[in-house]
């Protein structure tokens, strides 16, 4: 009896120990099997590269789709995961017709930790989709990125569509490591003011051009609708958004980007100067804080979530909605609202300006020719050239038309003389809209300069009220009122350098002072808060940062003039 009990305890313990050992070693074994694997791939990579070079020297370029291609891809964002390759129409089409398979690597909502772990364990994905700037430089500095220079002429789409601005993407060593997304030579962007049509008409359609008009209008909204309607909805105010848009109303050629974390400075006579001392900024903050004090701006502006904003806009409970990109939310809301009541919905207005300024020199938003973010190919990739060949195809007319209008045959067939798709009579606007929405997560290197005119080619054939809501206001207003801020890119110091530490402090001081000055109790209070912020910033080394950024700015201007 006792022996039997002892034996069963022994058995249980052995199993527990085994479980422990297995659990303890699983990560280790994972690593140990991985490391040789990556070592191998690296070994392969070099040999493959040689093979490729030989191949290319004989056959020239590699034709995308001629051989199966598979690589792993990771999106370096907390809110984003590369979707399963089969889950989209374009993905399935590429798999069937171009023998391409992309294996997603998930960030699991914790991208900073994920990337750090992958770097530390030398287990990088083949392609990383991420923001331009310090992190790309960090990877490059560690020798983990593949330069594109050898491929640029062989696969010419990027070079053709991006032009000389490509040089702005080059790293310190003069090489190109990043494939841009939504790059363009033409103005684009959506920043501006969206107005609730029904409320506007019920209040007698007043003039809405100057900051005073706007103030009077918001007061009227508040008087008539009380707490049931938010007069001015600025989206996520801690990221400036609609409040930053208002800032641009107070000066000609004043850019929204001046307040961005990547700049936080006002250019004056070729020198970057403190944002806290700037008169235009102070005037704008006083105006904004007056609106906030009088409850004309959403009191939740700094704490609300995007869901809450969306809900308000969808229900028509905002009178004016402004943001760096209000179009997606406003378009959805407009479409839902007109279904119930054709007289409701939203429309956009020409940007607000302060009395006496030229309304054609007011820019509520900016764009850069570099676009938004980039794809980089890491040294873990076996065949970087083939991956680049795909990316280049993807950003060209065929790839872009596939992403925006579906596979060739249904909505479009062939290209016209300018290279834009020929739309068929079977063109299904609903289906196209759905495709664009579904395929948005796999638009990694959007070619804005190509796709905007392509979209317009279709929209321009329709009467104004039949046009796509966003496309209509983009062509009528927003594209004309976005300024080019390409000269202000790449101005961040390395995050773990001394300047990086200063930048971090300035960011903290700014975000806090910004929120405080919006919530200030009086105009004097605004001045007091900004004076204090200026003092703190100065003590933290703001002037060193401004100097560093002025230099970077001058370098950018030189690069841009050289083209």
């Amino acid at each position: 009896m006792n022996k039997a009990r002892r034996f069963s305890i022994l058995l249980a313990s052995v199993m527990l120990v085994l479980a422990t050992v297995l659990a303890g070693c699983s990560s280790n074994t994972g690593k140990t099997t991985n490391q040789p694997a990556t070592g191998q791939t690296e070994g392969n990579k070099t040999s493959d590269n040689k093979g490729n070079d030989e191949q290319t020297s004989t056959d020239g370029k590699w034709e995308f789709g001629s051989e199966p291609l598979e690589f792993s891809m990771y999106g370096h964002y907390s809110w984003y995961d590369v979707p399963a390759w089969d889950s989209t129409v374009a993905g399935r089409w590429l798999k069937d017709n171009k023998k391409l398979n992309i294996v997603p690597v998930s960030a699991g909502g914790n991208h900073e930790q994920k990337l750090s772990t992958m770097i530390a364990s030398n287990d990088l994905p083949d392609v990383i989709w991420m923001d331009r700037g310090a992190e790309v430089e960090r990877l490059r500095d560690m020798g983990m990125l593949v330069p594109f220079d050898d491929y640029l002429d062989k696969y010419p789409n990027l070079k053709t569509w991006m032009g000389k601005d490509l040089n702005m993407l080059r790293s310190e060593d003069g090489k190109l490591y990043q494939f841009p997304n939504w790059y363009t030579g033409r103005p684009n962007g959506n920043a501006g003011y969206v107005i609730n049509k029904k409320i506007y008409e019920e209040l007698g359609s007043p003039k809405l051009e100057t900051t005073d008009d706007l103030y009077n209008y918001l007061v009227a909204v508040k008087a008539k609708y009380g707490n049931s309607v938010t007069p001015y909805e600025p989206h996520l105010a801690k990221d400036q958004q609609g409040l930053g848009v208002l800032y641009t109303a107070f000066g000609e050629d004043v850019l929204y980007s001046y307040l961005n974390a990547a700049l936080r400075a006002i250019p004056k006579d070729g020198q970057l100067t403190s944002v806290f001392k700037d008169d235009t900024f102070r005037e704008a903050q006083k105006y904004i804080s007056k609106l906030y004090r009088e409850r004309l701006i959403s009191q939740d502006a700094f704490t609300q979530t995007i869901d809450q904003i969306e809900e308000k806009v969808m229900q028509g409970r905002v009178a004016v909605f402004a943001s760096a990109s209000p179009t997606v939310i406003a378009m959805n809301a407009h479409q839902e609202m007109v279904k119930k009541d054709p007289n409701s919905g939203y429309f956009m207005i020409w940007p607000i300006h302060k009395e006496g300024l030229d309304k054609n020199k007011i820019y509520p938003g900016t764009y850069t020719s570099l676009g938004w973010n980039v794809s980089v190919i890491t040294t873990a990739a076996k065949d970087p050239e083939k991956i680049f060949a795909f990316l280049d195809w993807y950003t060209g007319p065929e790839g872009q038309s596939l992403l925006f209008f579906g596979p060739e045959g249904k909505n479009w067939k062939g290209f016209d003389a300018d290279g834009y798709p020929n739309f068929t009579p079977e063109y299904d606007a609903e289906e196209v809209l759905q495709l664009q929405k579904d395929q948005d997560p796999i638009m990694w290197n959007g070619n804005t300069g190509y796709i905007d005119p392509a979209k317009m080619k279709y929209e321009s054939t329709l009467p104004a009220d039949k046009q796509n809501w966003a496309a209509r206001y983009q062509s009528e207003i927003t594209w004309k009122t976005q300024a080019n801020a390409t000269e202000f890119v790449n101005m961040d110091p390395a995050p773990d350098s001394d300047l990086g530490i200063i930048k971090q402090r300035i960011d903290d001081i700014f975000t806090q002072a910004y929120a405080e000055s919006v919530m200030a109790k009086s105009d004097e209070d605004v001045d007091r808060i900004l004076d204090k912020a200026e003092k703190d910033a100065e003590a933290s080394g703001y002037s060193q940062l401004l100097e560093f950024r002025t230099e970077a700015w001058n370098r950018n201007k030189a690069l841009l003039e050289n083209k």
Partner: protein, 325 residues
């Protein structure tokens, strides 16, 4: 721990050395089956808690992430990162908030479950007691994202239920912007914490109370002691050892003012002067900017103080005879 070695031996070494050594081996062999059950746990703790500890060395280096686990390839910089933290302009605010918030959590959050347990114990209606218990411990299983969302929409100025209620009973004219006012932040944070954890925390005290000898209450009844007297003179002294142990552990956690709750409830940068604590600071300044060495140094500083506090609390508790070691 130094205390452990100075603690008087239970079995005085009466036998000569070699035979005692042999004794230990014999004893170990005799209980091999029981030892087998302990070792998996010890190995687990060693592998996952002690082995990775060499990472704290990076606090004294300029750690570069591409060196991975080969940390000795980095340069030693001594106390550079520590002095950077002590001289940072945020140091005072961060330390003050950490201490204030954790003290508040300790002073309010620690006794709350005890009081709830004592109150629940006096409920005679079993059904009602069960329902209250279940409802109070459920929030423990919600993540902070959900709780913060709940708190946020309840306190919102637009359609927030609290503001609507206050307006309906005419206490205020205009909605109060609770989530953006520094003076309310600590109250909101502590209330949300108590609400979330009170029920779950009370389970252990309820169990302890259930173990109290019923005959003591009967005797007290006969002597004419009131309900409050009984709680004060019988229940609390009997569950004191449990309370003390949990208090020592809570004191060891004093510098952990919280992370997720603060990060999620303090969305507005206006709140930073009252909400920035060591953990949120490490996250914002250290990890988000790849300053791993700096983050490690600050974390190590926190751990050292926590161990000090724990040792001190244990020393005091030992005088009452209920210490951890």
């Amino acid at each position: 721990m130094p205390q452990a070695t100075t603690k008087p031996q239970i079995h005085a070494p009466t036998q000569p050395e070699p035979s005692r050594k042999k004794n230990v081996v014999v004893r170990f062999l005799k209980q091999w089956d029981i030892q087998l059950m302990v070792w998996p746990g010890i190995i687990l703790i060693f592998v996952f808690a002690y082995l990775p500890m060499y990472g704290v060395l990076t606090g004294f280096m300029d750690y570069k992430i591409n060196t991975g686990a080969r940390i000795f390839e980095n340069n030693w910089v001594g106390f550079k990162h520590f002095s950077m933290f002590f001289n940072a302009p945020e140091f005072y605010t961060v330390m003050r908030n950490t201490i204030v918030i954790s003290l508040l959590k300790f002073l309010i959050g620690f006794p709350a479950p005890i009081i709830l347990a004592l109150m629940l114990n006096e409920i005679r209606h079993m059904m009602f007691k069960r329902v209250v218990q279940t409802i109070t411990y459920l929030p423990h299983f919600m993540s902070w994202v959900i709780v913060a969302g709940l708190v946020g929409s309840m306190l919102s100025t637009e359609n927030g239920s609290i503001n609507i209620l206050l307006q309906k009973i005419n206490l205020i004219d205009d909605p109060v912007n609770f989530m953006s006012m520094p003076e309310y932040f600590w109250s909101i944070l502590i209330s949300a914490n108590v609400w979330k954890e009170i029920g779950f925390g009370s389970i252990v005290y309820l169990a302890a109370i259930a173990g109290v000898d019923q005959s003591m209450y009967e005797a007290a009844d006969i002597d004419g002691a009131s309900k409050f007297k009984q709680i004060y003179l019988i229940t609390i002294p009997t569950i004191m050892p449990v309370i003390v142990i949990f208090m020592i552990l809570a004191i060891g956690n004093l510098l952990s003012a919280g992370f997720e709750d603060i990060l999620l409830l303090a969305e507005n940068p206006v709140l930073r002067p009252v909400s920035d604590v060591i953990d949120t600071y490490v996250y914002r300044v250290g990890l988000s900017n790849f300053r791993y060495s700096y983050a490690t140094a600050v974390g190590l500083f926190k751990a050292v103080i926590s161990i000090g506090l724990l040792t001190m609390a244990n020393y005091l508790a030992r005088k009452s005879g209920n210490s951890l070691w």
